[in-house]
Symmetry: C2
Amino acid sequence: MTSKTKNRLRVVPLGGLDEIGKNMTVLEYGDDMIVIDAGLMFPDDDHPGIDLILPDYSYIIQRREKLRGIIITHGHEDHTGALPYLLKDLDAPVPVLGTRLTLGIVQGKLEEHRIKKPRLKEVKPGGHVTLGAFGIDFLAVNHSIPDGVAIFVRTPVGTVLHSGDFKLDQTPIDGRMTDYGAFAKAAKQGVTLLMSDSTNAETPGHTPSEAIVGATLREIFARARQRIIVASFASHIHRVQQVCDAAVACDRKVVVTGRSMINTTRIARELGYLHIADEDLLDAYAMGDLPSDKVVVLCTGSQGEPLSALARIANGDHKTVQIEAGDTVVISATPVPGNEKAVSRVMNRLFKAGADVVHRGVARVHVSGHAAEEELKLMLNLIQPVNFAPIHGETRHLHAHASHARAVGIPDENIFVLENGRCLEISEEGARLGERVESGVVYVDGLAVGDIGHLVLRDRQVLSSDGIAVIVVAIDGQTGAVVRDVELVTRGLVLAGDASGDSMDGAHARIAKVLRRMCSEGVPDTAGIKRALRDSVSQYIWDSSRRRPMIIPVVLEV
Amino acid sequence: MTSKTKNRLRVVPLGGLDEIGKNMTVLEYGDDMIVIDAGLMFPDDDHPGIDLILPDYSYIIQRREKLRGIIITHGHEDHTGALPYLLKDLDAPVPVLGTRLTLGIVQGKLEEHRIKKPRLKEVKPGGHVTLGAFGIDFLAVNHSIPDGVAIFVRTPVGTVLHSGDFKLDQTPIDGRMTDYGAFAKAAKQGVTLLMSDSTNAETPGHTPSEAIVGATLREIFARARQRIIVASFASHIHRVQQVCDAAVACDRKVVVTGRSMINTTRIARELGYLHIADEDLLDAYAMGDLPSDKVVVLCTGSQGEPLSALARIANGDHKTVQIEAGDTVVISATPVPGNEKAVSRVMNRLFKAGADVVHRGVARVHVSGHAAEEELKLMLNLIQPVNFAPIHGETRHLHAHASHARAVGIPDENIFVLENGRCLEISEEGARLGERVESGVVYVDGLAVGDIGHLVLRDRQVLSSDGIAVIVVAIDGQTGAVVRDVELVTRGLVLAGDASGDSMDGAHARIAKVLRRMCSEGVPDTAGIKRALRDSVSQYIWDSSRRRPMIIPVVLEV
């Protein structure tokens, strides 16, 4: 290593840029390296059959001997979900640092993955640790999960402030404010680079306080004459707390259903982040005896997930909760982009079952956990960083955040809209774009991790839109003669005129003709037969039905 | 037919309830029947490979001898798109009634489907026609396409007012107001049933006037220093007019690209609905010579459609339009639910290419064409109908609209939240729910119409998430002995440990074992072999990879 590269801080974003999810940032100085967050992303319709998407963290694995620790800013999956995979691949006891609730959630995840004895190191907001060349402070921030922190990192050549996910809530439910004093102190020391959450950069104004949701819930609960069902994110402990408080205030018991809701409320109560008396919390199976106006059901499924508690309730196949006409259902969340239709489907079913569905479109039953434009500007003005890199957002959000930075006076040349894998190099001379390093996505598909290529995804897309046709032919290996009728199997494919069976007959006739021609021309080779079968059947199906299914010819020589 | 059924008006909704799209309503009295709208719906991810969704209109076909006419309220696909299919299936020259622009658009569609000499009958807003027992008035309404109408139908036992799609725009671009006088006149005659557009029933307040978009466009155009690209719905002639006006006002030429945009602007200009001088309109190929600050490109693709002009521009593969840093792109539309991610993807690419993208989230570059809560209440108060049935919307929207009706004093028992196929019977005694008739969906898939069963869709979903495994075995028909190595072909399937090839070997070993066992037990039958192969391979793949692909065993007896 040259002295030049030794005296520079390298910032490597491995995830979270041009996407919402799989957040991961590497800081590297000399022989030391730390990682901030190890998140996953949930796949959309472009990734049929994929369970999870992880950042490609080869960069970290290749430098594992430098890794001094992994810092997790808060307990959401897009910041923690890749951690089990990363720890397995590191195969070394790397310290994982986080606050109390964050580590509580992380520990649950690692246990599910059977990772034994991880080196979890609890840190406190306001606390300080040293990892190799890095001096690290943890700054309290508000977010839609308790105990979130921003990270202030000092190195010999400059400092980095990483905001984590944050909002500036002036009346947080737990009284724990974003620590303006700590941010001001960091600003006073000088921030070489601010990396800040762009999720809501396109939203004008301020994000409303979580407290207003409580007021809405109390009003809705006071009006309800029958059962109340509230769906929310399990990890949104403040929201859960407000549902519990509103329930207890109107003399209702809280029934928790849905696996992640049950797990998270248990952890949050054990660690002291959720406060509700034992007698006010009921098991779903114990609910039957209570009158419907004495119950609030708290459940998962606010994103319309087909197997969630709320979807089961809407479909009438939940074990213990059935909708009756006059019940009130509160969707206390906003659909993540891509989930709009699924959420709408669940809502329509609930309406049909007779429920009154209260959602974000008609009442203040949800607020965001991310800072909007004016908060982002306030953060920029408070920190007055030399350089700025928007993080956590699609390109559109990063650009919106960049334009806010310009508006508060950060010079254009000091604003870096990065991409995953594009490094930023910080030295005493300043910041500049560095090289591109290996980055990208790793798919988790059943038990397979990372072996899923784009070819497989493309195959699945073809299969899903146009189906498949398999043609099986047995030929005599000596003579080349066809020894049996051809088998043609189709799935997910509709041939025009199917009802009369004409099309299948037509396809068989076409295949027979091709085989006769090939045989008459001499002993054909298997590859040639396959190619001829594929071409002729493909053309036949296109002509008759305007479809291009996947075609698999199988030639058995017997 | 009994005298009882003779003296009642039957209202049959065949589409548009619990969905946005495929609007279709039948009115039937004695020996006469009319149809209002014949729309289609675009499929979502639950319908892989499906091109279009039509309403099941068997009810109409079965009573075709009664059909006196098909009335089209306006030229959008969700009101016109099923018409070519319906006319083909009717196979009789049924009159199609609509206003001038509506019929202009319909004619283009029918020509594409090679429907010759349709009986198109132009009507005028304020005009009147008689079709059998039905006396029909056409009432001008504002919408996001010109020349829309509501339909007022008189029968011996009552009247129906069908709103079509509407908003109450006080400053419409073409000066053509919703005809409040005509609505008041209908109200004075007495409206037995109001059927009214629920699309925006969840939106509080009033939908803003289309005119405000023009003001925003003029501001954006005045600021732009380079090329301007505007994406919008081709059929939104008022929007197109405003883009043209803003362009001409700042001395830019308008270049139209995208097939439907070219077609619709041509029809609209020919029929006198779009006004721009020939010299201000340029062909895309003639654009090259103009400086970039003298051009506005008007294109399709506001929904992120992958093959649209805007998507091609964003991907850098449009024939004549390339993005340069500093270009301005205006997305003058809102994503239809389900299209959010596709639109975001196009926007992100445009930002990466250096464009400044202006969209609905950051400027008033789009307003809806549908009435919001206060307009819907105004319509209810203006009409004071005896009975009310919300139409055009998912169940959530229909319920929201029903609650607005309750709020303005319509008694609960006179509000009918219908479903597709659920009839409403109107007689002199009043309105009541009638029977359920055949209704549902018809899929268009390539050249196949209607033969696509749910089984095919389910197959496609399995194929798309878990892939397929085909096992081919040749056995001696006499001895039952396996005469050749087994072929195992997989597509869209990743077996854990694929890299080393272990899994495929494992699967082959499992198959060989099953076959040995079966042969040793005597001459096996083909069905038995297939079942055993399917079970064993399915179990093997589940154990090794936690996937359940479609498994197709093919046994050739040779």
